[in-house]
Subunit: 255 residues, 8 copies
């Protein structure tokens, strides 16, 4: 609820069109819904045209279905991430438009009618190795759900630099690049050094021994000698895709 | 050197306008200069209109002056960060247009003649506490050197939430927000939850005991429950300002 | 055995009512019982009216049943935590009054006859997300077993601040608040900044990557910029509920 | 600003006593003051009778004096912690009623006229070793500034258990106990096992080698096998004293 | 091969009783046996009367049986630790005198004929909780296999100090005490403060959250404020029992 | 593509034998093949005579088979590491010359016709304990696949120093030594102190408790007081074998 | 106060020789002295003949002098460790018999008249490098103050194994060995493998980079593959000397 | 003392040319010299022609001079590292041939007469940034002292990849490459991917915040996706230079 809305509400009170107690109730009546175990926040999705997101990890199939029911009931589009296969299948069975991406472990249910006006820029999602694909795909699905054009470039780690250099043009024409890499995470620095575009780096838990489940890549990316590299949590493809889509929107918050 | 340039060069060879060996030399003749202890890279500054940056930490006053001399000689603007006070003063004495920001520990030397075309968006730089100011100011100076409009909002940590909420409008109208916070770093999540704008979070080493010189804030920011939050290294005001300015540019890499 | 009791015993010796060697034996005869693999301490429960607690993790079903048998035999009430489902069911089968909370993984067996005089204050247990519920419920069950009134507020994490602010009044009227949060744990600071009430913060292992199984939330809570926030171990709902109930008792140790 | 106040404000608008725009301004006019580098929050102190607190670490002498000036100007009492000696002396010179505790590194300036009604309970502050005294004293000064009665018991670490046991009665009659210990931090568990009172444990950075500047004590306290032990940050005597005073108040938040 | 033996060998060479090349071969012919995947070292067992030890973790059942066969064939006694149940049963089936301790996960096969002359001192093995028993038992079995008298005192953690104090006499009459504790590991310091006897502290991985699989207890024990406490690896009951038995032997190395 | 080749290509353009656009394409036409999920890099194998390597961990059986198919199709030899047993068997079934080493978890498929000219030096691979064998064997298989002679010395840890000293001659005559050890990793320092040969140390995750899955050994090896010790990642037998084979080649890069 | 003394006291009460209240007072009247900032515990020193110990780190010169005054006044001998040079000199000036060891940073003041009956065994203190000497000397001084014979063997690290092997006989004839080593700490394992004697390992903070101020050596020693190695805190020469002296006493606690 | 020498000695005993006791003494009489605080090991230098090395850190000027005196007295060449400037100057004053490298903080004193036969290969030492120079220079001086030809390439970090690619030929013709880099340490992987030559990677403590004094670079290098990369300790230029020189020697240990 923004200032403009408060002003209107106060005006209604001044006009006698609204009782103070009712106004108080409205000030309180925030657009979320209490399911007992979860507060579904319709506010954000309605305002931004972005999908509501269900983070599936640690939720039961029934919980995911219940929350999805409410979201779809409000006419929002919906993105569910980190899904068990059985939960994903249950969503696909229940909702006609549901699109399941097994690699990314996501289900997207687009809104019935309101096509997003697409931003003109594009996002490049680049991964260092084959094992980084699930995280990269989660970023791709998320960014597309938010209306972005996405190009995918996979398995171009720094151990074979010529593979990466072959994609130089695609990198230069992106509005923002998501770099997904495990092990020593050097790809973020190398790409950051090649371009003058924001780079959202995603460390992955790919590696062994002293990679410490992604910590080595995380630290490397935080310490990148290339300017313009920002970092999200280990394996957080969703977060990277979301941030990249926000960057790609090219407008301030409309709320 | 991009594909277009290679194509032209190859055409010159085909035309007989250029000997193969000269072409080879040009392919090798990359735009950097070897000072013995440092390679100054004029390429990037020329291409982007961004300033050349000298990271002052761990360099002697003489090294900083020598590198600055070369950069200014090329007509680039220049930003030096993490400067000892004496080094900063030496730069100010030597270069007429040098602007010293003591809090941010930076010196900026704008280019003589080429005014940047400013992007239309603005960047909000927000800090949690008074002690976070030097880092916040480094971000401000950096972003301004790259042509951005910046608004500053300081000392609005989550322990007094009403202080932050009073600046809600300023936050919503920014193109990107830089959040600078130490201790538990919660400010990034709270702001990330309020807006739908990219948030570049900078953990600072402000705190004591189990803050572990900024690690607590860093981890908090990486684990933010709010979408759209990306993170840079501890105390890296420069990196945050640089990334925010790239996001604010709203165009792909022109290189 | 407190001073008053020692004084009486010494008086009995002085009166000739007690032989020195018998007195020595009594000084040694402390109120615990040796089961071979465990010392059951009836002293504390008898003195405080609080339940005896069995920490179920790492104990076999038979061990839990044996210890429970002794406790119930002494007429104490009993709380068992971190139970495997089969162990919980065994307790429910064996003891008529046993109350099983599957989410909290606890079994409570109230005392047959001695109702606790309830403290007048109340405890608010607040969680950031749906996945934090098991830990939150463990706190709730524990505090109720110790005679406290408890209000539950779930899924009000800082990413949607308006959800939390809607419960402001309930927070202000509590005697002590238990805040349960994983990921970046910012909820503790935000609530700590809203109220002037002791806040017992419980980091949970909810999260992934650089949450390091709850370490990120733990550090955030220890570094809270809000005064009045104290912290217990990761996922330690029992400890938080216990401490909150002690704070809510409003009297010194009667022992 | 609580609901009651919003209700009154809305009533004034309904009565025509207040223009909507003025109401909006009041909703915005929150009780803090912008000093440029700091927002002084008078709200909390006025509401609770607790002192305003200046955390001195990382602030210049002038900054501390400026903030103090504003606070005293509002008639609040004030507590400044982690002061450099010269800053402390400057405060003592400037403010007649200022009380400097060199060991605790604090300055307290009591309010001129409004004596606090003291809570009836008392706080015991216990330290393991002589080197823990500065932290313990910071807790003592803080709790007293908030109106609490405090008893001090120092140098009773577990290596000489009989020293601690001699103070058993004092421990049992406290409303809350602050335990300050470095090295292995075992004192918190031992005291937590002796009493049924909330124990606020403060790990200190006293120790060497694998104490890792207080981490060993912090972990020990978080893993205490005794129920009722809660923990604050390393060396955070202020936080422990503050939380203990809140626990000792025995009432919910009056705000 | 000690100096005495080299002297004899050299004397044989001087006497012409041994060819230089044969002597060289003997100097090389060290008393171990190569099984391909393992070198069995009979030297130590023969010299000390201590059992040969097979560390069972990470070895297949067949490997354990093969090594055991060689050891028993040399007439040594043998202790196998960290055994899978099936491996333990295979040893019991194969070797008539094998004694299996399921809790400690050990099998001991005493030598047929050479009874050890027992040292006169005794070892006390003390554990904090019921869950620490497997580690404690491993220490007990190991020390007994090396000829020591051992007394066991279990579940006397510091949360109920009176339980521990009841065993004071047993502690004072030991030659060395093994203290086994997880969680905050405070028991080692408390016992170390009660006695003037070497204390071998064994941290266990019992605990959760910030116990970090025994690290909290390990750090606590290393930082013990009580003198005379030495530490072994987490869960290393074998190491503690072995060291305690060496301390209890009261003689220098006979080798 | 090296300078010589660029020179030839430019000459062809100058001669009119090659169109500029075709030249550009060749400059781009790098010798790797895009399988969609992986870029197979034939360049390196062709140039060096070394096998192509498939790192099997985290790849499906089908992915491994597909990549293998391409490699063998190019006539390269191939080494696959970290294979599940079923994947290894599938390779053996599919490729006639495939050699499976179950302990090392590798499959090697030698090239049909081009025998490598062997270097004259030899590599010694030494392990501390029986449990280190899988890692040691991975090093052995890798080094042999690269044409090296390898000697294996196992189970000669420092707890029985005489076992190691018996192999002194074999150590002195190696060109490079690979030392594989877990637990405290002391073997690397001891061997490094005995010889003046490069020692490639491989920490293994063998151990428990405070070995932290190989970290203790890793740190020990990095801090070796013996000169000439270099280190690879925990359990990285492949990396050690590869580096050792490069050292053993005794020539610069022929590329 | 042991059972025997309690028995006597109770007998006196039974005899009417002692009033119950006086008995109670005696039960409370424990042998320590409150200096305000420290409790001096004369009990232990009187009972054991061991010196009272002042841990000098973090204490002012005056505090050390005051505590020393009390201890000497009781006729105990005294050992002060980790002394600043000026504090050490002050002690030497004040107390005629004071012996200052500048390398160990200790002052020992032997008791005037009560010569300790020396144990018959001896302690070997062995260091890996020259930089480990201060820690090694602290162990030597401590052990000697407790009546032990000590042999010193320095700079025999594993990088030159023959240096160590030359002292084999001295090692075999010790009752207990203290091994002091930094860097990778391998010396403890090598010595532990040579002898069948308790080894007290002291990691030192000697090293750089990934030695992490002694953590590498600490972990190595905790993970020693040699049985009989126990560990004390980093740089804790005092603790090692104290434990070694207890082991060398060859008797149970006389208390 | 090798087998050949033992054989000769035994032959002398057999011949009656040597008494057994004298032989025993010789077997013990190992070639090191005891200075009290240090054992100088002449054995290694004499055998290999490599310089004796004094690690200067933590040694007093006098200790360094004393050790140097002995080494030079034996006619060996000598390398001292990590020297304070005053110590370096003292060496230069004392020894005519001493060569001081202020950046590397080393002093080299070549042997008077025995010129090393140089290996034919060369070592490339590459650094990422200007701040890495001291570590790189330490590697250069060390390798040269051991007879190697060294080429230096500085300030070619991955943020400006074209700078590095310009030196490709120099990299390909080296026998071994030392890569020195701080921050995210990506240079090691990029170079490792370009060549088929052993790469010795040296992480430096250059960086800030989450570089954790070189840990980020260390982890990156250990997790390098490029084969053939081995790692030494943080800032260990000496170790890298030493290992590279051993690799460059192209012969097994002559000892």
């Amino acid at each position: 609820m923004n200032e403009q809305q408060i002003r209107q509400l106060l005006q209604q009170v001044a006009n006698g069109d609204l009782q103070p107690d009712n106004a108080l109730m409205q000030l309180r009546d925030l657009p979320f819904e209490n399911l007992g175990f979860a507060h579904v926040d319709h506010h954000r999705a309605l305002r931004t045209g972005f999908p509501e997101v269900i983070f599936g990890q640690g939720k039961t199939r029934q919980q995911v279905l219940d929350i999805a029911e409410r979201i779809i009931g409000h006419g929002s589009q919906m993105l569910a991430t980190r899904l068990e296969e059985t939960t994903a299948n249950a969503l696909v069975e229940r909702f006609a438009r549901a699109e399941y991406d097994a690699l990314a472990r996501t289900v997207l249910i687009p809104a019935a009618d309101t096509p997003l006006s697409l931003p003109t820029g594009k996002i490049a999602v680049v991964s260092a190795g084959t094992s980084d694909l699930p995280v990269a795909r989660e970023a791709v699905v998320t960014a597309r759900a938010m209306g972005a054009k996405v190009e995918e470039i996979y398995d171009v780690g720094v151990a074979g630099l010529h593979r990466l250099l072959a994609y130089r043009d695609q990198l230069h024409t992106a509005r923002v690049i998501v770099v997904v890499a495990g092990m020593e995470g050097a790809l973020a620095s190398v790409i950051g050094g090649l371009v003058n575009i924001p780079v959202v780096a995603v460390p992955t838990s790919v590696g062994y021994g002293a990679s410490f489940e992604g910590v080595a890549a995380l630290l490397a990316m935080l310490n990148s000698c290339a300017s313009g590299v920002v970092v999200v949590n280990i394996d957080n493809g969703f977060g990277a895709g979301y941030a990249a889509a926000l960057i790609n929107r090219d407008t301030a918050d409309g709320a």
